[in-house]
Symmetry: C2
């Protein structure tokens, strides 16, 4: 820690993260507090911070740990939470979000972090970073608290696009596997396809087609396909990556958050119910804090945009310093592992043979 | 209680429930224990029990409270959990499930309860009871623990059909409103349509069309339409009935169950972590039991099949006596309130003007 705050001695940071300081519900102070926390923990991170220079300079100057490690790039406008993505695509130039993506585009930073408007962030990322060759629809992947040893599963798409055909779902499987390898250090991830039953005859037509495609690509792409999984399996230990369309994934994610919120409210009420239970609450305090930390959405803060030429981490709009710091940690891991390049190579190698297949693969070719 | 076990004095039960004794994971003993529990609590229920006569007679004879209130109808075969619905439709005659539905069909009982195979139960119910005039796709509605004062919201469809168009979603809204009136005693239920955002421009085309249809029918059908809701709103207090297609609804339901199971496992681990937390666990025991009861899936046990000429309550396959008794209680409430007839009248009155609309409503007419 002391070396981190001793600006003269620190080496050039190995991984630079581009951070949109604006657009979150708590404003730039929370963002600066979050990156300062990350900087104190990890001497290998550097930052490029985007937003109004005056405000940011003042905030950054207060954090000694950031001195010499945080470049500020002025951006006067801010993308608001209720701005429509189409509007931001036309008018977003000059915003802190645009500027943050630009630093990844031109190679100054390896990963971009923003807690702004998800739709606008995806739209700008698509326009400026462009889709990877072979990817039809980018996806948003999230980490999901689970019974697995590492504590998390990956689920995608949780909301980049409301539809996905069989080929898209295969791409999600490839991208999810790549993310699990680089983000969760699983060399041979287990992939499941979300459905309303585990029997092969169940579900929509595109799910049956995707089932066969994902199974056929398992061996050459170093993942195990466990077949169809159900909603109850998302937090289970029988799968590492859950693949679904963005409509279903988004509903599932928000349903789980709503369920956790309901249980947490009922738990508080239960602990408050009698004098005895209030004493119990005091005795159980540290255990409960540990549990809270384990499922705290701020700690799994960071949806990752997959399928672009560059990695973008979307943090919760309501993220505080803890949340921002968690998103920066994830961005650092992905940046350091060269995730973006590895993912591109995976997708390219998986789609290449099919591109050559000529008349046998017309549907796929349309998507490439 | 004493009058219930005193067979000579009890009046003829006001509401007869037809119960499939077979097909659940715990066998007929759990079912008989469950109906005995309901019989002890409520002197107004009578039963027709379906399954192998020998076995059932022995089980029923052991429960004094059932004597004189439980008719047994012999059915030798059992629909198994992995039987395909199409197979059961062709070969299911003579099964306890078929026989249980038959008692509703011929008017001997007002509601049917089964904890067997959901797909088969829906298929047989469709064939034997037939869809209500005006209903294209029947739906399964479930009770969902919520922050509302009554403790529950209604959600449908949670798995009768994997697809639903705009007209189907309108039907679900009408049926869900009717269920909320009769099952939850809400005179003017608030209905929400599940989507990935609350803005009107979001989501799939059929959702936008359904949004307008459900809004247009609100006034004449005594419900309030709150517009689009998200996954996090399902257990909230801002809505009473959540309308969605059976694919999304099923995934959401199972995701919530999986989330509750994960949290409950982590809660046990947290309480076991230190000697202090184990003492806390003892002190908090009754509070925790109360919480457990509140979100216990056995207590909200009973998906209701809506849109048929007769009401069928599907209990969890793994239901024990508590679960069966909860499903019987729900069946009794619905049977006593004349729910089936009221629902039929609602659907008929809502679809009638559109049937008369001639060329303006061809899509709807196709569905009638």
């Amino acid at each position: 820690m002391s070396s981190a705050s001793d600006q003269a001695n620190i080496p050039a940071p190995s991984t630079v993260i581009s951070v949109d300081a604006m657009g979150g519900d708590r404003g730039p102070a929370a963002v600066v507090a979050g990156i300062a926390r990350s900087a104190a923990k990890n001497p290998d991170i550097g930052f490029i911070l985007h937003g109004p220079e005056d405000t940011l300079s003042r905030l950054v100057a207060k954090k000694r740990v950031l001195s010499g490690r945080c470049e500020i790039r002025n951006a006067e406008t801010v993308v608001k939470m209720d701005d429509k993505p189409s509007h931001v695509m036309r008018r977003g130039k000059g915003s802190s979000m645009w500027s943050a993506i630009e630093s990844v585009r031109n190679g100054d930073a390896s990963v971009c972090v923003s807690c702004g408007n998800t739709g606008a962030l995806m739209a700008l990322s698509m326009v400026r970073l462009r889709k990877l060759p072979g990817v039809n629809r980018p996806a948003i992947a999230c980490l999901w608290p689970s019974k697995n040893r590492g504590g998390f599963n990956v689920m995608l798409d949780v909301g980049a696009d409301i539809r996905a055909d069989a080929d898209d779902l295969l791409q999600y499987a490839l991208m999810g596997a790549s993310y699990a390898r680089n983000g969760l250090a699983l060399s041979h991830p287990r992939i499941g396809l979300l459905n309303v039953g585990t029997e092969e005859h169940k579900g929509r037509a595109e799910l049956k087609a995707a089932h066969d495609l994902i199974a056929a690509n398992a061996k050459s792409n170093d993942y195990e396909f466990v077949g169809f999984v159900e909603g109850g399996d998302i937090p289970s230990a029988k799968v590492d990556v859950i693949v679904t369309d963005g409509f279903t994934g988004n509903v599932a994610l928000k349903t789980a958050e709503g369920t956790a919120s309901l249980i947490s409210q009922l738990l508080r009420a239960a602990f408050n119910h009698t004098p005895l239970s209030r004493i119990a609450a005091m005795l159980a305090y540290t255990s409960m804090q540990r549990l809270k930390k384990r499922i705290d959405p701020r700690r799994v803060n960071g949806g990752v945009f997959l399928g672009l030429n560059g990695t973008v981490v979307k943090s919760h709009g309501s993220a505080d310093a803890t949340g921002i710091s968690a998103a920066v940690k994830l961005a650092f891991q992905l940046g350091e592992s060269g995730f973006s390049e590895r993912l591109a190579a995976r997708v390219a190698s998986a789609t290449a043979p099919r591109q050559d297949a000529g008349a046998e693969g017309p549907e796929v070719k349309d998507n490439l």
